[in-house]
Symmetry: C2
Subunit: 276 residues, 2 copies
């Protein structure tokens, strides 16, 4: 693991690191914010998964998470959203290939050799960060925005033992029924739709539920409401009787101003669960 940069922030350290990823077959970059409390010993950790077109950098610079993480004593990990570099398959569209890994392990060509963000987030990157940072492996939460909200919901509901808290900002909530989903799932996983269901948060929630209280924020003026399909997730919450707070936030769009506006509450929500 190489250190790309480290900056003092809110009494802690915002770092950017790179490593050779076996899973993705390329160098991967990620960011970790370590709060001041980490000087005293291991701290709980929140995973933040980003959306389409993003890298590790977007949320790190624009979401305002560090201020609240420092106060609450949480570390935050910001992974990249896809493999990158020369020789990695890509597509001209913004929503396929680089920047659009969709948190699945691709089985189809040309994506299969590198586009394995599911295994990267669930196996390789956790091993790396728990080896290198003062983190409590037993106190993990996960959240994300848009495609990253989709990733957070599907990963946590598939491996509930790993996470104690779960939230999402404007997640892609029903990808098997949306152009943000059908396109990527067919490209990465193939035409057999039965394999897609494991990557649809609304279907997973209806099937499995989530062991804890779920927090979802969605902007009521989001320009991508038709693609995100929050109504499917809301319906699943209601049908399942899932303990949850689902908020339609008046006037907010899909931007990082929306994410930043509610970050304080999400960080506090995770901290309460992880320190509880």
């Amino acid at each position: 693991m190489q250190t790309v940069s480290e900056n003092r922030a809110f009494g802690g350290v915002q770092g950017v690191y790179s490593h050779a990823s076996d899973v993705c077959g390329c160098d991967m970059t990620f960011a970790v914010y370590m709060p001041p409390q980490a000087e005293e010993g291991p701290v709980p950790v929140l995973w933040y998964l980003s959306g389409l077109t993003c890298t590790h950098e977007n949320a790190m610079t624009k979401a305002g998470a560090q201020a609240y993480a420092a106060r609450e004593g949480l570390a935050v990990v910001f992974p990249d959203t896809s493999p990158r570099g020369e020789g990695i398959a890509d597509d001209d569209a913004y929503d396929l290939g680089k920047g659009a890994g969709f948190y699945v392990d691709a089985t189809e060509e040309p994506w299969a050799p590198n586009f394995r963000m599911w295994s990267y987030i669930t196996e390789e990157l956790p091993k790396l960060v728990f080896r290198n940072f003062q983190l409590e492996e037993g106190a993990q939460g996960i959240t994300g925005h848009s495609m990253g909200g989709h990733g957070a919901l599907t990963i946590a509901m598939t491996d509930p033992d790993r996470f104690r808290s779960l939230s999402a900002f404007a997640p892609i909530a029903n990808p098997t029924k949306s152009d943000w989903g059908r396109k990527q799932l067919s490209a990465y996983l193939g035409a057999e739709e039965a394999t897609w269901a494991a990557h649809d948060a609304s279907l997973l929630l209806r099937e499995n539920g989530w062991k804890g209280h779920l927090l979802i924020d969605q902007g009521a003026s989001d320009q991508f409401l038709d693609l995100l399909k929050p109504e499917a997730l809301a319906a699943a919450i209601a049908e399942r009787r899932q303990p949850a707070t689902f908020r339609m936030q008046k006037g907010y769009d899909h931007s990082y101003y929306f994410v930043a506006s509610f970050m304080e509450e999400h960080i506090a929500f995770h901290a309460e669960a992880l320190y509880g």
Copy 2:
């Protein structure tokens, strides 16, 4: 004035606007954050001046100011740092020309026709924003980072009646004695050093002082300490017996992580003065 974008943020609106500037002879872009309190009537306003290489966008996206401005009920104006566009003079160096207006009115060629950021910040942009936004003209504060801290200090000390509060993050504090200063002042104002003194915060403070309590934060691990020369400003504060809080912050560098880490306190400082 044209609206480039408007996003709901922390219950208020983060907007970006452009206008044809007579003073700079080009289109200029700026950002305004209006807090939720502005729905009830005019609010106090904090001017935030950015540093070398920045546009209106850097602080707007990376400083985390909106969260605190919303809580305190302050508007924040984020101007650009120079004229821009085709036909505007420039230099290959990052610290001269575009992105490096240095908050002076250039008298020398090729800069004189457009590089008039002093008049832009002190005359043209205030007129425009007070005409178009619900702002209290009698409740203005000013701050900035690096070159923008230089701008904030020199502008406020030159026109103390306009501003009720003044702070700076890692300002270029003694430009007449620094390569961040001598280069720009000679290019924009010419070789006659007597004209430079009006644009040196340490000289102005020693000469005029500031009517209120001054707040300065400086990272102790700032990679540009040799160019910023905070010791000149600290000495001027001490010699003048200037009411001030001058803080050397252990471990912090020159980045926006430093600015963001202390933004809450600067916003609260200005709010106390502007609502007082």
